[in-house]
Amino acid sequence: MAGGGSSLKSYLLVRVALVIPTILILLTLVFVLMRVAPGNPVSAALGGHVPEAVIKELTHKLGYDRPLYVQFGSYLWHLLHGNFGTTITDKREVSQIILINGAATLELTVAATLIALAVGVPMGLIAGRFRDRPIDAASRIFGIVMYATPVFVLGLMAQIVFGSWLNWLPISGQASPLTTALLTTHTHLLLIDALIDGNWPAFWDVLRHLILPASTLGLVFAGVFIRLVRVNVIRTLKDDYIEAARARGIRERAVVYRHAFRNALVPVITVIGLEIALLLGGAVLTETTFNWPGIGHALYIYLQNRDYAAVQGIVIVFGLVIVAASLIVDFLSALIDPRMRYQ
């Protein structure tokens, strides 16, 4: 499908070229969705609170009274220049929301992914190695139940047990107010900021706030990794080269650990990329449950305030992040495994 080109370079070029229509359609889709709703964005956000004349004036000022194709054109033009628009209700630039709230989301999702990997990969490896034994059944059931548990249920139960009953960990927010006030902003990533300042009490405070939300989101995603790694181990253990390794008299332990496990883990990279979509969706719920000031929580607030411009900007950003992630994943897979280039 790579147009006869078999080299890595031409594969990558084709792959990048294929992204452009996807992004265009994504942008059109979101634009159309936000315009088929009754009323224009201004009246939706402010309707009922301000006089009709003010709405009319603001509609004109923000350009929502122009023909749709003109609006679409200028929207694309602005996006091309990195301008994701301005919210109607509180006049924040969407790019600022991405920078500040996005940092909180990044902190949460990275921590959650690490936890998901730390729990899911070993369990999947063991389950696949000992297929159909009790430990396999147990891991699979754990995986299914984890998948079936909504993050908000797990999160609230964790709040009740570790916050309310045991009083070990804070249950809401990204840091205590004092820490937020004292910490200087370098990167918007509070953990990194505390490290740069060498402010250990603040670092500890931020870390304590991170534990419950990250574990909640991470455990739910561990289920995904268990299932994936298990299937891959089973698949790999049936491969010819494993048989060959056994035939050469290599000990079973070495066959499993050196040959099978390593190869079974390659697809995990792909899946981390694909799971970003799920992770971001889960982040909206986790952030709302834990009052975490991330981009998902921001989206929730703007939806409640019926701020179409903000919703449109944030959804676009989510879409772009996911498209970019799948692109990066394909690059990495092509680098690691030459067979992928011919797909």
Binding site: L29, V145, L303
Partner: protein
């Protein structure tokens, strides 16, 4: 949902089902289920029983439930707010003084109704689109693939959330709003699976034979291809139903979809319990949460069990050692 069933097997494609003889076809379809052994059998039965309990709960809600879903008083006496489990309220009451058990039983009805409706919608849209795009190909196919892929790029909960938000103001029935939101999320999946399957079977000898005897494209699609590719759908639909419950409760938790005046919804119930967590009140979160977990687990086990029973690649008691790549 990474190891989504891919039951598009060449083995199935060469055995065209004959329309008009449903009884033997049905028996043939159920044979792998009856023959399932080991873990697959255990999964199938556990899943079927769990799902069955919730279906019964939904059907007989008025007789099973001790109170109405929005009932906060009996005989003129208001129920206690946030009362712990007791004889009068086996699972306690919530912040609005309604009975938690009643909410769960009536909630089963809402969840299953929305999912069933969404399933009907997404099959009616996704299956024909997939059949047509896969069989005819061309620019329509290319455009549809691009659109569906772009929809895949938006996280499913987010897409559902935006749709529910937009439809919420024009459609009054929360159940329909939620079903539409979920439909938009799952149409691309049915489209993709059906389209790819049709593309792979459309050059099979039996299709060519039908073409040779002069059958029109829609006869071929309806009579020959449809029955062969539709076998993938039950597994996918069951697993999607599990996923749809999660999406629906996620919507409810964020306050979209089914409105509290229209019916009980577990996700919404849990969102009401957010404020209770700080004071250590557990029954308002645990019980609706458990209902979600059990129903989703039931549907997932049912789907995975079906998949293992039907899909020969995963079938456990294979007599010969199969190499996975050869079959895919």
């Amino acid at each position: 949902m990474t190891d989504k069933p891919d039951t598009a097997l060449p083995g199935h494609a060469t055995l065209p089902a004959r329309p008009g003889r449903f009884a033997p076809a049905l028996r043939r379809a159920f044979r792998p289920v009856a023959e399932a052994r080991g873990f697959a059998r255990a999964m199938l039965w556990t899943g079927a029983v769990l799902t069955g309990i919730f279906v019964l709960m939904a059907l007989f809600a008025p007789w099973l439930s001790p109170y109405g879903f929005d009932q906060y008083q009996a005989a003129g006496v208001q129920f206690a707010q946030l009362a712990p489990p007791s004889a009068q309220h086996p699972l306690g009451t919530n912040v609005q003084s309604t009975d938690v058990l009643a909410q769960i039983i009536w909630g089963a009805r809402t969840e299953l109704m929305v999912v069933a409706l969404a399933l009907v919608f997404s099959l009616t849209i996704g299956v024909p689109l997939g059949l047509i795009a896969g069989y005819f190909g061309g620019p329509f196919d290319r455009l549809m693939v691009l659109v569906m892929d772009a929809m895949f790029a938006i996280p499913s909960l987010l897409l559902a959330l935006v749709i529910a938000f937009l439809l919420g103001s024009s459609i009054t029935s929360g159940i329909v709003v939620a079903a539409c939101a979920i439909t938009i999320v799952y149409v691309p999946q049915y489209f993709r699976v059906l389209r790819n399957h049709v593309t792979s079977v459309r050059e099979e000898p039996y299709v060519e034979a039908a073409r040779a005897i002069g059958a029109g494209p829609f006869t071929i699609l309806g009579k020959y291809i449809f029955f062969n590719v539709i076998q993938t759908v039950p597994v996918l639909a069951t697993l999607n139903a599990a996923d749809a419950i999660l999406t629906l409760t996620g919507l409810g938790f964020l306050g979209y979809g089914v409105q509290p005046s229209q019916g009980a919804e577990w996700g919404y119930d849990v969102s009401r319990a957010v404020g209770d967590a700080a004071s250590g009140i557990w029954w308002t979160t645990l019980f609706p949460g458990l209902a979600i977990v059990l129903l989703v687990t039931g549907l997932t086990l049912l789907g995975e069990g079906l998949n293992e029973a039907i899909n020969p690649v995963l079938r456990q008691r294979a007599t010969t050692k199969l190499k996975m790549e050869d079959l895919e």
